[in-house]
């Protein structure tokens, strides 16, 4: 397929922006105490990763994100399916779902710290709290959009409940479920990093916040760069996967 014209322009715009930033830092237009040149950030990151000084912190943070995503996806799907089966509960919960992401739930993080102590537990819970409702809503959407005709097909073929769920309903709801997973990943990431940043015994967010307090700009910008790269790459992979899937479904339909 190759790159489109728009894609090339985008790369040019980003390259020029980073180049300008580099130039401003090198010339001294931007103070080193505020921002270090992007090339130095990259250099600091490479040296940090080679030295392995913070590898355990990095592993810890990403492990917490993965645990939070797994809990959110599995539990969110189960709760979504349960709520979908109980229409009255669902109607009662609707206003709560509509409000949930409008409320800054981070204000409850200190409450969790007081209850569970300064450990990984409140951070995992904040990750789950930010991610799980997106998965529940996506599950409800997915189950809503299962065509009625599939239930009839199942009846005609004398399929059991489990076979119907696995062979017909799950594939029909899958695109919406995947949207839920995608949101859960990026929300859990934000929830975990923000919690670590505000207050945590260790982890990547804590190391960045410590480096800021110690005026260690090389370390701070190196780890920020790492987070930005990881977040961008993960989101891009999920996006590409989503697009491929949509394309294949499109081809299958016609």
């Amino acid at each position: 397929m190759g790159m489109t014209r728009v894609g090339w322009i985008r790369i040019a715009v980003l390259t020029i922006a980073i180049g300008l930033l580099e130039l401003c830092c090198r010339v001294g237009f931007i103070d080193r105490r505020v921002l270090i040149p992007p090339s130095e950030m990259a250099d600091a990151l490479v040296q940090l990763l080679i030295s392995g000084q913070f590898n355990d912190q990095i592993v810890r943070t990403f492990a917490i994100v993965i645990v939070a995503v797994l809990i959110s996806v599995v539990l969110g799907f189960a709760l979504g399916a349960l709520i979908h089966a109980l229409p009255r509960v669902r109607h009662a919960l609707d206003p709560f779902f509509a409000t949930y992401y409008a409320v800054p739930i981070f204000i409850f993080y200190p409450v969790l710290i007081v209850i569970f102590g300064l450990s990984a537990m409140p951070i995992v819970l904040m990750g789950v709290a930010t991610a799980i409702v997106a998965m529940i809503i996506a599950t409800l959407n997915g189950l809503d959009r299962i065509p009625r005709v599939l239930t009839k097909v199942a009846r005609v073929h004398h399929m059991g409940t489990i076979a119907t769920a696995l062979l017909l309903k799950l594939p029909a709801a899958a695109p919406h479920l995947f949207t839920g997973v995608k949101l859960a990943v990026s929300y859990a990431f934000i929830g975990v990093i923000a919690s670590e940043f505000i207050l945590a015994p260790s982890g990547l967010g804590r190391v960045i916040s410590d480096a800021y307090s110690d005026f260690n700009n090389r370390r701070m910008y190196a780890l920020m760069l790492l987070l930005i790269i990881v977040a961008t790459v993960v989101n891009m992979l999920l996006h590409v996967f989503d697009q491929r899937w949509a394309e294949r479904r499109g081809i299958g339909k016609s």
Binding site: I9, A92, T99, V103, P104, I107, V114, I190, I198, L227
Partner: protein, 247 residues
């Protein structure tokens, strides 16, 4: 009838939440989590106090400026990228990937530029709110059915008439949706900034109460913020629904 039933069902859920709160309190003890009733009693005492008023005002002022910035810059970027196709096509993926970044990590940069000042907290709040406003405004302008513009041309409307009578009403519902999300995220940004580093504001009060192990105060402030965000969201949602219905 159904509205009453639905309200009753929602009330049951609130009661279930309160019972869960009480049960958790029994489980972890009063220092970690005060019970609902003592918190309510503290609520009545704390809200009229000068300390609450001072900090709530600090947060409100900061939030107001941040919201103004979010809306002004967000609408500006959104209108530009919506009208200018090439900029929109080039910029949209960049905006989306910045949108999904955990922006807390960038707060030290803001602090290094502005120091521990009001402008730092305002900037950080605006950083959260700008993107949804810009993305939804851009989407709204791009999704205008071409037939609208054709009829405007057929009627020989001037450029300003087209904007006032066609573009503005057609994009309004979606733009308001962007403003609603921008509102919530700007509030989140301001509170995160206050929680991380500030000596005033409701976010600071929560962290301070946590360090002093004052559970009642922590929960009271959290509930006030919760109620404020929920009510504002409900109001903006109501406006959005009305705009969608009217022709």
């Amino acid at each position: 009838m159904t509205a009453v039933k639905r309200a009753a069902d929602s009330l049951i859920i609130v009661i279930v939440l309160l019972l869960a709160w009480q049960a958790l309190h029994q489980l972890v003890g009063a220092t970690a989590l005060p019970a609902p009733l003592p918190t309510l009693a503290y609520f009545g005492k704390f809200l009229p106090s000068g300390r609450f008023a001072e900090n709530a005002w600090a947060t409100l002022v900061c939030f107001f400026y941040a919201l103004l910035l979010s809306y002004a810059i967000g609408l500006g970027i959104g209108i530009w990228m919506g009208l200018h196709r090439l900029s929109g096509a080039v910029g949209e993926p960049i905006l989306i990937s910045v949108y999904t970044l955990p922006k807390v990590t960038l707060y030290p940069v803001v602090l290094l530029i502005f120091g521990l000042s009001l402008s730092g907290r305002v900037t950080f709040g605006a950083m959260h709110g700008v993107l949804p406003v810009a993305l939804l405004t851009m989407g709204a302008i791009r999704n205008i059915p071409p037939v609208y513009l054709k009829s405007a041309r057929t009627l020989r409307l001037s450029q300003w008439q087209t904007i006032a009578t066609v573009l503005f009403p057609a994009t309004l519902p979606e733009v308001v949706a962007g403003l609603r999300i921008g509102f919530s995220l700007t509030l989140l940004g301001v509170l995160l900034a206050e929680m991380f580093a500030a000596k005033q504001g409701l976010g600071f009060l929560i962290i301070n109460a946590m360090q002093l192990l004052q559970g009642e105060e922590m929960l009271t402030v959290a509930i006030v913020l919760f109620a404020f965000a929920a009510l504002a969201n409900a109001l903006l949602l109501w406006i959005e629904h009305r705009l969608h219905r009217s022709p």
